[in-house]
C-alpha cells in the first residue's frame, strides 16, 4: 500500500515533469551558465552613483508598506471581531461573511491586487498602498481573530459581572488581552509588506520596483545590481526592527 503510494507519487512527478518541460527550449537552459557569467560580469561593480535617484523611490516604498499596513489594520480589526466566534454579533450571517472576506483577500497576492488596481486607478503609489492594504486584511484578520478566540473567558466574565455594557466588555475584557498579539501581528505584517512593496513597482504601483523595472528593460545590469542590494538592505533592516519590536512586546 505504502509502495503503491510512492509509485503513484513518482509517476505523477514524471508526468508533471514531462508536461512542464514540453515547451522548454533546452538550448537556453544549457547556455545558462554562460549567460549567468555574462550578466555577472556586466553587473559588477554596481553603479553607486545611481543611488541618488533611488532615495525618493525608497521613501515611497516604505510609505507604501507603512500606510498600506495601517489601512489594512483599520479594515482588519472590525472584521476580526466579526469573525471571532466569541465576539461576533451574528453567528449565522456576519461570521461566515467575514471569514470569506478574510480567506479571499488572503489568497490573492499583493502583486495581483496591484495589477488590478493599476489598471483601475492608474499607476502610482495609491494603487500600491491599496494593494498592500487589501492583502494585509486577510493576514491580520486571520491571526487576530484566532487571538480573540483564545482570550481567557474568566476575565470577560469578571467584567460582565460588574454590569458592564457590550462595549465596555470589549474594551476592558478582550482588548487588553489581545493587544500584545495585535502589535506583534501588525509589526510582523509590516515587515512582510516592506518586502512586497519593493516589488510592486514592477507592475506600475510605485516605489523602488519601478526603477528596477526600467533598469531591467534597459538591461542596465549595474543599476539592477545596486537596486537589488538596496532592497536586500531594506529587508534586513525591517526584519531587524520587527524582531526587536516583537521581542520588546512579547
Amino acid at each position: 500500500m505504502l509502495w503503491a503510494g510512492w509509485l503513484a507519487c513518482v509517476a505523477l512527478f514524471v508526468w508533471c515533469w514531462e508536461r512542464m518541460t514540453q515547451r522548454t527550449i533546452w538550448a537556453f537552459v544549457w547556455d545558462a551558465p554562460n549567460a549567468a557569467a555574462d550578466i555577472a560580469s556586466r553587473a559588477f561593480p554596481p553603479r553607486w552613483s545611481y543611488m541618488e535617484r533611488l532615495w525618493a523611490p525608497l521613501w515611497d516604498t516604505i510609505n507604501i508598506a507603512t500606510l498600506g499596513t495601517l489601512l489594512g489594520i483599520a479594515m482588519a480589526v472590525p472584521l476580526a471581531f466579526l469573525a471571532a466566534s466569541n465576539t461576533t454579533p451574528s453567528r449565522l450571517v456576519l461570521r461566515p461573511a467575514a471569514l470569506f472576506v478574510i480567506v479571499a483577500t488572503r489568497s490573492i497576492n499583493s502583486l495581483i491586487w496591484a495589477l488590478l488596481l493599476v489598471s483601475i486607478l492608474g499607476p502610482g503609489i495609491l494603487a500600491g498602498i491599496l494593494a498592500i492594504a487589501l492583502r494585509s486584511i486577510g493576514f491580520i484578520g486571520k491571526l487576530l481573530y484566532e487571538a480573540i478566540e483564545e482570550t481567557d473567558i474568566r476575565q470577560v466574565e469578571a467584567v460582565t459581572a460588574t454590569g458592564a455594557s457590550q462595549g465596555q466588555i470589549l474594551t476592558y475584557g478582550i482588548v487588553p488581552q489581545v493587544l500584545p498579539s495585535f502589535y506583534g501581528i501588525s509589526v510582523f505584517r509590516w515587515d512582510i509588506n516592506i518586502r512586497e512593496s519593493a516589488i510592486l513597482g514592477l507592475v506600475g504601483a510605485g516605489g523602488i520596483g519601478a526603477q528596477l523595472n526600467s533598469s531591467l528593460n534597459m538591461l542596465a545590469w549595474p543599476q539592477v545590481m545596486l537596486i537589488i542590494l538596496v532592497i536586500l538592505g531594506t529587508v534586513v533592516v525591517s526584519e531587524w526592527v520587527s524582531a526587536k519590536v516583537r521581542h520588546a512586546i512579547i
Partner: protein, 267 residues
C-alpha cells in the same frame, strides 16, 4: 475628612509606561503620517476614468467568462500545477540534506555555516526577483518558474526543518548514540522519526504556498496562470481575468482546507 483619592478613574496605559515616550511616539507618528500622506499624488481625472473600468471589472468578476480564453487558462493552470508539484518535490528533496546540515546539534561547524548561509540567501531574495533572473537566464516559460519555486522552497523548508531538528528530544538521540550508532544511523533512527510528521506537514504547506506564488511569478514571464492573468488584464478582458482569479481563489481555498485536513491526519 475628604478623601485624598481621585474621584475619577483613569485607565492605565497598556503598552508603554513612560508618559514622555508615549507623547514622543504619538507626535512622531503624526509627523510621519503627514509627511507620508503628502507624498501620495492622486490623478483624480484618471481615477474617475478608471471607475468605469472598475465597474467593468466587478461585472466581469460577477459574470466570469471561462470559455473564450479557455485554452490559455487551461494551459496556464496546467503549467502552474505541474510547476508547483515538481518544484515542491525537488525543493524538499534538496532541502532535507541542507536542513540536516543547518542543525547545530547534528552537523559540524563548517557544514552548519555553509548550510545556514544557503538558507539565508534563499530567504532574503523574493521570489519575483529570483524569477526575473531565472527568466533572463533560462528563457521564458515554466522551467524558470520551476527553478524559482525550488529555490524558494529550499530556504523555507531548510530553515524550519533545521529548527525542528534542533528542538528534538535529546534523550532519544543519546540512547541511539549509546548503542554505538554511526552518524547515518543516528539520523535514521533518532532524528528522522521525530521530525517526519512535521516535515510532511511543512511540505504540504509549502505545496500550498508554491501554488500561490506560481500565480504571481507568471507576471514576470515565468509561465503558469499568472502569465494568462497578466495577458487578459493587459487586453482589458476583465471577464477572463475574473474567471482566472476565481479559479485561483478556489484552488487556494481547496488547497488550504485539504492541506490543513491532511496535516491533522498526519499528526
Amino acid at each position: 475628612m475628604s478623601a485624598a483619592y481621585p474621584t475619577i478613574w483613569r485607565k492605565p496605559p497598556q503598552m508603554i509606561q513612560a508618559r514622555g515616550l508615549r507623547i514622543a511616539l504619538a507626535v512622531g507618528a503624526v509627523v510621519y503620517l503627514v509627511l507620508a500622506i503628502g507624498t501620495i499624488d492622486v490623478n483624480w481625472t484618471r481615477v474617475i476614468a478608471g471607475m468605469e473600468r472598475a465597474q467593468r471589472f466587478v461585472a466581469g468578476f460577477l459574470q466570469p467568462d471561462f470559455t473564450t480564453r479557455w485554452r490559455d487558462i487551461s494551459n496556464g493552470l496546467m503549467e502552474s500545477l505541474t510547476m508547483t508539484f515538481t518544484s515542491t518535490v525537488v525543493g524538499v528533496a534538496i532541502s532535507i540534506p541542507i536542513g540536516v546540515g543547518a542543525a547545530r546539534n547534528v552537523a559540524p561547524r563548517a557544514v552548519y555555516l555553509v548550510c545556514r548561509s544557503i538558507i539565508a540567501i534563499s530567504r532574503a531574495l523574493q521570489e519575483i526577483i529570483v524569477a526575473i533572473f531565472f527568466v533572463a537566464l533560462f528563457g521564458f516559460g515554466a522551467f524558470a518558474g520551476f527553478l524559482t519555486l525550488t529555490f524558494a522552497t529550499i530556504g523555507f523548508i531548510g530553515k524550519l526543518l533545521a529548527e525542528d531538528i534542533e528542538d528534538i528530544d535529546e534523550a532519544q538521540a543519546e540512547a541511539i548514540r549509546a548503542t554505538g550508532a554511526s552518524w547515518v544511523q543516528l539520523i535514521n533512527y533518532a532524528i528522522q522519526p521525530q521530525v517526519m510528521p512535521r516535515l510532511i506537514g511543512l511540505s504540504l504547506y509549502r505545496l500550498d504556498i508554491n501554488f500561490r506564488e506560481s500565480a504571481v511569478i507568471g507576471i514576470v514571464g515565468a509561465g503558469g496562470i499568472g502569465a494568462a492573468l497578466n495577458t487578459s488584464l493587459s487586453r482589458y478582458e476583465y471577464s477572463s481575468a475574473g474567471a482566472i482569479l476565481l479559479i485561483i481563489i478556489a484552488i487556494v481555498m481547496m488547497a488550504e482546507y485539504s492541506s490543513g485536513y491532511l496535516r491533522k491526519w498526519v499528526k
